[in-house]
Amino acid sequence: MSLEQFKNRNVGTQNYVKLDLDHSPTSGWCQFKQVVKRTFKPELFVGLWVTLREMGNALFRGKMHTTQYPFEKLPISPRYRAIHDMLRLMESGNYRCIGCGLCEKICISNCITMETKYDENQRKEVSEYTINFGRCIFCGYCAEVCPELAIVHGQRYETASEQRASFSLFEDMLTPIDQLNLQQEYQGFGAVSPNADENIKKTPLAY
């Protein structure tokens, strides 16, 4: 399906396939013919055959559809917006967050709270960072607005826990320092698009 087709929301004017419905019988003879046709058409047996065939497919040809969820999981899209992750810089291992506060500002459900201070190198340090997941609507604005790609949406969608706070501390969301080499660059919402280089234009300075 082309993009043009995909974006066409004029539902009423699209090409629909009309079912070839029989006309309802008018005379008694027509009704009789319809009854006979419906009685002796092997449609019911087609139905039986289909279910039996699918049973054979499932049992003997390995076409079982069930995903045994807690033991096996389906892959999810990189654009999936689950519990946030805080990424680190690959080179130094420092967290990427520069404490700019944009995510706190843009958050439409006011669930991000952060406090920053200057550390001894006069560099901004995040002293406290929490996300209230009781309020978060997973809109993804924070990930989109983050200039450093520091706060992103991760893949952790199993959010049942004993306390809401379980996911919400900065340390919980931050990539563990020993798993730094496993850290994946974020592909989803707000990430740099694959053709970003082509889209960069010269900044018009000559006003």
């Binding site: 279910t51 699918e54 045994q68």
Partner: protein, 338 residues
């Protein structure tokens, strides 16, 4: 006739042992039927079905049993309490009473006590009518349950019970009538002996067989005709307010009825427990009953259910005339040949 005199005398102790045997084994099979149903329906929809309780989920039955027994037993405030409590018992009891006149398991003698246990608990010579009548009486369970529970879904369920019963009962009787005319007896044993030469009754009476199957589906409330408790339309119909073991009794009754219909279909139409080539008769009858049980599940997986008015249309305007014509034609042919 001579073999009949050879058999030891049937004592009261033997009949009681037989009754307990039927009750225990059929109730267990009926419970196990729920597992088989879930498993087969799952396979037909390419799912796995229950499989975490025990190997392949076999102990699911025990888990369900524990759940049913420990569930809170709720009787609604405005319900008619006596009738509400009696209704599930009617369904389960009639299903087992019907099995009293059906030959299940071979006869044997308990060695030490010298008690002869017959193959039919009560060998009434009108067996087939007794079984059908008792299964019909079983429909009082859903009817009373629906009316007693002071719930509108229940009332709709019991109204549907009444119309379904009145519709299919005629077809059941008339469809069985033609084989009865050919055999000239109402006893299951005579039906079995009539087909001892290897020609099944289906060959002579295909129309009656199809009619009986359709009516049997209606009698057991299986899917094309599961109007009484159709979740999509009337919540749960007559079982809306039931919980725990009272609810469980309805389903034990339903599955016992499925087995009974399987037994009748296999004895009357499918050659009974006669030997087939080299296969002994007891394997044949178990195989036939198992297949008819499977067929009911298969149909449930494949076919949609119909509306009440369609059921009445089908029974009164199509099946009943067909059954009458079948009876008349059978009579004429029998008169000409015999």
């Amino acid at each position: 006739m001579e073999t009949a005199t050879m058999l030891p005398e049937v004592t009261a102790a033997g009949v009681i042992i037989k009754a307990v045997l039927i009750l225990a084994v059929i109730a267990a099979i009926a419970g196990f039927g729920t597992y088989i149903e879930r498993k087969i329906l799952a396979f037909m929809q390419r799912r796995l079905g229950p499989q975490h309780v025990g190997p392949y989920g076999l102990l699911q039955l025990a888990a369900d049993g524990i759940k049913l027994f420990t569930k809170e037993d709720i009787i609604p405030q405005h319900a008619n309490k006596i009738i509400f409590a009696v209704a599930p018992v009617i369904t389960a009891a009639t299903a087992f009473i019907a099995l009293a006149a059906v030959p299940v398991f071979p006869d044997f003698t308990i060695p030490l006590l010298d008690i002869y246990v017959p193959s039919i608990a009560s060998d009434v010579n009108v067996g087939i009518l007794f079984v059908l009548g008792m299964m019909a009486a079983g429909l009082y369970g859903p009817l009373l349950a629906g009316m007693a529970q002071a719930n509108k879904w229940g009332i709709i369920g019991s109204a549907r019970t009444a119309i379904q019963f009145l519709s299919y009962e005629v077809v059941t009787g008339l469809s069985v009538l033609a084989p009865i005319m050919m055999v000239g007896s109402l006893s299951f044993v005579d039906f079995n002996n009539y087909q001892a030469d290897g020609t099944w009754m289906v060959v002579y009476q295909p129309v009656a067989f199809v009619l009986f199957l359709i009516a049997g589906f209606a009698e057991t409330n299986r899917t094309p005709f599961d109007l009484l408790e159709n979740e999509a339309e009337i919540i749960s119909g007559y079982v809306t307010e039931y919980s725990g073991m009272r609810w469980g009794l309805f389903f034990i009754g339903e599955y016992a009825n499925m087995i009974t219909i399987g037994v009748i279909a296999s004895i009357v139409f499918l050659g009974g427990y006669n030997d087939f080539w080299f296969i002994p008769g007891w394997i044949m009858i178990i195989g036939k009953i198992a297949f008819s049980f499977f067929f009911m599940l298969w149909v449930r997986a494949a076919w949609p259910h119909i509306r009440p008015d369609q059921l009445m249309w089908l029974c009164w305007k199509v099946l009943m005339p067909l059954a009458v014509v079948n009876v008349v034609v059978t009579g004429i042919v029998m008169m000409i040949i015999g």
